[in-house]
Each structure stands twice: as structure tokens, then as C-alpha cells.
Amino acid sequence: MFETALTDLWYGFGVALEPHNIMWCFIGVFVGNMVGVLPGMGPLATISILLPLTFGIKPVGAILMLAGVFYGSQYGGAICSILLNLPCHPPHAVTCLDGFPLTKQGRGGAALGITVISSFVGASWGITEMIFLSPILVVVALKFGPAEICSLMLLGLLAGSTLARGSPLKGVAMTICGLLIGIVGSDIETGTPRFTFGIPNLFDGVEIVALALGLFGIAEFMKSVNQLSEVDTKYTNVKFKDLRPTREELKRSVPAMFRGTIIGSLCALIPGTGPTIASFISYATEKKISKTPELFGTGMIEGVACPEASTHSSVQGDFIPTMSLGIPGDAVMALILGALMIQGIVPGPQLISEHPDIFWGLIASFWVGNIMLVVLNVPMIGLWVKLLTIPYKYLYPSAMFFVAIGVYSTNNDMFQVGEVVVIGVVGYLLLLLDFHPAPILLGFVLGPRFEENFRRAMLISRGDIWVFIKHPISGVFVGLSVLLIVMQVYVRLRSPKSLPTEMALPTDHHHKVTEAAE
């Protein structure tokens, strides 16, 4: 097992180090790092914008690039949190708590230096985990029948919608909406057009690019227009030489880094608990075991190292269920899975054996990409810091063009530009009603496969709905799903207000900005 994994990894490096793949990987991490730094742009919007551009390139390059955007943006997001106190990216919200006080004390550079080191440590562990865990998962998953796949998807969808931000009930509602949007189009078995309102353009279903760009592009722009104040650039003068932490800072961060890495990698294994929850839990843990918990929030370097390491280890670990089981944990992973499907690749446990170049190439490219990011972030820190000052009023109009042309170019069809406008308006309405639209994408991507497997399971069991409990593995998944719901109900009833997770994380970065300004 161990040796095969290493041989496969060696093969993966061969794929990832092909010149054009290096190029795509570099473009991915560069763009990712850039949007991570830019306030008001996130990896979701960026991956959706880049998605149509990847249709013309080979699947390996496309996936390397899109994945690079995701983990690259995590490096950039930390810069934004530490220097500006702007939690543009939810996983880095807790980094603000100690990162910004450090900046005020003039140690912002050191905090960034520690961040880069922790990120690399966390990411390396996450990648290692993926190398050894995925093949084991695949061996198990290949034995799954339709009933097992179905219950596993149910568990994934439930976890993805209830453990993410906001009310779990609303998350479930959004997931079901996503599943319903996934139904739009012709029925796979009978060909009956469903929920198409008689519009022929909808017979092929809703375009994933239009859905993603509507929800994470237009709706987000409508939410943020005129809301982002000018950033305060008082502390952003950071140079290469400022990045070096003192020996004492390094000594304090190293254990925190490793604790964060472990927490992050554990969180990655539970679907739905992405990097945001990992970083919060690790910050809370670090505070709890510290000898001086009262000093947290005033500029403790541990409070930067631990959540950053756990974010990155969980970001890389997020790819495990996505690539080995075909079940994404959050909206970003759903998009990457969508990109695979557009390229004609069926996600699931057979992916590793059928397309080893994609799987092992991706893993190897994580390492290549992370090394590139360290190189990009350390000597070029001045460039990223300058990017912080690009105002939002230039960003979103430019992005609007990419939204329009991107949707158009997927099928060369103007109808889909109209689709994106409608989805954008609906998405903004949902945001106003306090729904988080991310689970929609999760439901949308899994929906068709979920229905297909459900029908197949019913066919095999001759209409016996209890088959999901009778099969032992499937029963375990159903049991876990029930446990998840019971746990959520229990937590809500005990503290009806909101989970501590949400209270600690600034849900809306605008509030944070105004606080900082006061």
C-alpha cells in the first residue's frame, strides 16, 4: 500500500511537472493569491469565472488550475485579515483577532511570515493525508451499491448544509432547492422534460456556470455595492525583510502550528466542516490550553499560527472525499466536481483508477503549487500589499464582464446570460432572507446522481424503502445522518440563540470594517 502510493505519487509528479501543467498550476495559484488579497472577491466567484475558460484545455490542466485558485486564495486571505482586519474570507476571520493587534504593534510582517510557514506545514500534512487515505477509501467505496451511495450522499448533503454557517434548517432548505434545480431538464430515464416551463433552452438543465455566477457573482456584487469602505492602508507598508519572525516568536508558534494541523486534518474528514470551522476550533483550543488565555486577542502569535495551519490542512484534506468518493464537502468542492463533470469525467471511487493522471497529478501539483505560493508570498509581499488598495468600484464592474462573457461562452447562447441575471436576483433575495446560497450548489451537483442511485436502489430492492437500513454500511450512514439531526436539534434547544461558532466569527465583514473605523 505504502509503496504503491509512493510510486503513484512519483507518477503524479511526472504529470504535474509537465511544462503546460506547471503553467496552469502557476496561473491558478497566482490568480488565487490575487483574489485572496483583493477585498470583496472570493475563491467561489473566481472559480466560477474561470470555469468557462477551462473548457478548451485538457482536464488535468483545468483541475490543477481551479484547485490552485482555491488553495492560493487561502494564502492571500491571510494577508487581508492580518494587515487590514478585514475577514474577506471566512476561514481567516479568526486570524484577525490576533493578527491585526500584531500589525498595530508593528509585528504584522512577522505574523505574515509565521502564516506562510504554518500554511506550508498545514498543507503538507493535508496532502500526505490525501495520498495515503484516498486509496483506502476507494477500496471501501468500490464495494458500495446504489443504496450505500445514496445514504452516503444523504449524509454528505446533510453535513454540508447543517454544519456550515447559519441556521441548519435554512441550510437544509437551500440544499433541497439545489436538488430541485438539479432536476430541471429532461429526465434521464424517460426523457420527460421536468420543470422547464416549456422553455426549450432549459431542456438540458440549468447551466452550472450560470448558477454559480448568479449566486456567487451577481448576488454578491449586489450585496457589496457601496458597502465596502475604503481600506485603511496605514499599516500595509510591509517589506520582505519584515517577514522574519524572531526566534522567540518562532519557538512559540511551532507547537501551535502542529496542533492546528492535526485539528484541521481531523475536520477535513468530516464532510461539511470545512476550513472555517477548523480554524475556529483550533483557535478556541489554542486559547484553552494556553497558559495565558487572557492575552489572546491582544496579539498572540499562537493565535495566528494555529488557525492558519488548520485552515490549510483542512483545505487540502477537503479534496479527499471529493476526489475519492465524488462527494463534495462544500460549494468550492462542488464547483471543482462540476468542472470535472463538464470535462466528461464521472466523479466517484473509480476516478483514481480510471484517471490516475488527474488524481495523482493534482496531488503532486498541490506540492508544486504550495512551494510556488511560498515563493510568491515571501519575496513579493510588497506587490500583494499594493493590491489591497485596489478599490472595489473598479473590481466588480470588470468582474461583471467576465460573468456575462463567461456564461455566454459556455454554450454560445445568450439565453444563459438571461439565466444568470434571474439567478442573481433570486440569490440576492435569498441573501436578504438570511439564507446562505452555498448549499444550493452542493445539492445541484449531487442531485442528478442522487436521484439516479435512489431509483436504482429502489429497482433492485423491488420498492422496499427499508433497504437503506437493511444494508449494514448504508444503515451506518443513515444512522449517522439521524445522529447529526438529533445533535443539531439538541444544541439548538439548549442554546436557542446561535452556536458559539457563529458568534465568534464576524458573519458580515462590513460590520467589522465599521468597528475598526470607530
Binding site: 441556521s167 436538488l179 464592474p397 455566454y408 446570460v417 429502489m458
Partner: protein
């Protein structure tokens, strides 16, 4: 009781989900063949989803009734950005119209220029410069590098 309920945001959130759920349930029951559990027709899966969504919507309504009223129940944000929202949405709409009748270049320009005006501090000149810049690089990228079949200029459909 009902008086305070209609002020809550979650009343509308739950209500909307209940309505969508009910509509889907009715439509899949009436419009599509359900089949049997063994041989499911196209209507069965949506019917199940519709019923679940209705239930979840009712639960959200119930939760709204059970929680006390907070001061932040406005659905629209305190500052209404009608101009911003209008300009952002006008961008892609203009892209469709101008793209259909006049070609990629005017469509792109409008799609950047109009949303840029949505910012309260934006000037016509600044937005025009931004739009011109994006048009130049956008056309270069999409027409010459990616070669999408979209004429730069055309007249009529």
C-alpha cells in the same frame, strides 16, 4: 402573536420555502407520472423533495414563531442601493441586447460602464476609462486568444 410574526424575517423565509415546496409538490403530483416505488416515474423524486421542502419551510416558520423579535428584522438593508442594484443588473441585460444587435465591443463596454456607475463615488469619465480598458483586454483575450464565435461589431440580427 400573528402581528409580531409578520414582522419577522424568518416568517418570509419560511413562507417562501413552504410556498416553493407546495408548488413543487402539487406540480409533480399533477403534471408528471409518479410510477411505483420500484419503477419510479419522473414525478416521484420531485414529489419527495417538494414534501420535504414544505416541511422544512413550516419548521422555519415554527422557529420564527418561537423566537423573540429582534431589532434587525428588516429584509431590505438599511441603505437601499437601488441605483447600485439597478446598474449591476442592467449590465448583463445590456450585454444581451447590444450583443445580439451590435456585437461584442459595444456589449462589453456597456456591461462594464453601466455597473461601474452603480458606485456612489463613480464618475462618468472614470467609468468610461475603466470600461474602455476592460473592453480592450477582454476582446483581446476572448476574441483573439480563446476565439469565441462572437462578431466584434455587427448591425442587426
Amino acid at each position: 402573536m400573528f402581528g409580531t410574526l409578520v414582522k419577522k424575517r424568518d416568517f418570509y423565509a419560511g413562507g417562501l420555502m413552504t410556498l416553493i415546496g407546495a408548488a413543487v409538490t402539487l406540480d409533480s403530483y399533477n403534471g408528471y407520472s409518479l410510477g411505483t416505488l420500484t419503477h419510479m416515474g419522473p414525478g416521484m423524486f420531485p414529489l419527495m423533495l417538494g414534501i420535504t421542502l414544505t416541511l422544512v419551510g413550516v419548521l422555519i416558520l415554527g422557529a420564527a414563531a418561537a423566537t423573540p423579535l429582534t431589532d434587525d428584522e428588516n429584509i431590505l438593508p438599511r441603505k437601499r442601493e437601488w441605483r447600485g442594484w439597478g446598474c449591476i443588473l442592467a449590465g448583463p441585460v445590456l450585454f444581451i441586447i447590444l450583443g445580439e444587435f451590435f456585437g461584442l465591443v459595444p456589449a462589453t463596454f456597456a456591461c462594464v460602464f453601466v455597473p461601474a456607475l452603480g458606485d456612489r463615488t463613480a464618475t462618468v469619465k472614470g467609468s468610461a476609462i475603466l470600461a474602455a480598458g476592460v473592453t480592450f483586454f477582454g476582446v483581446l483575450l476572448f476574441s483573439y486568444v480563446l476565439k469565441i464565435p462572437f462578431p466584434l461589431f455587427r448591425l442587426g440580427h
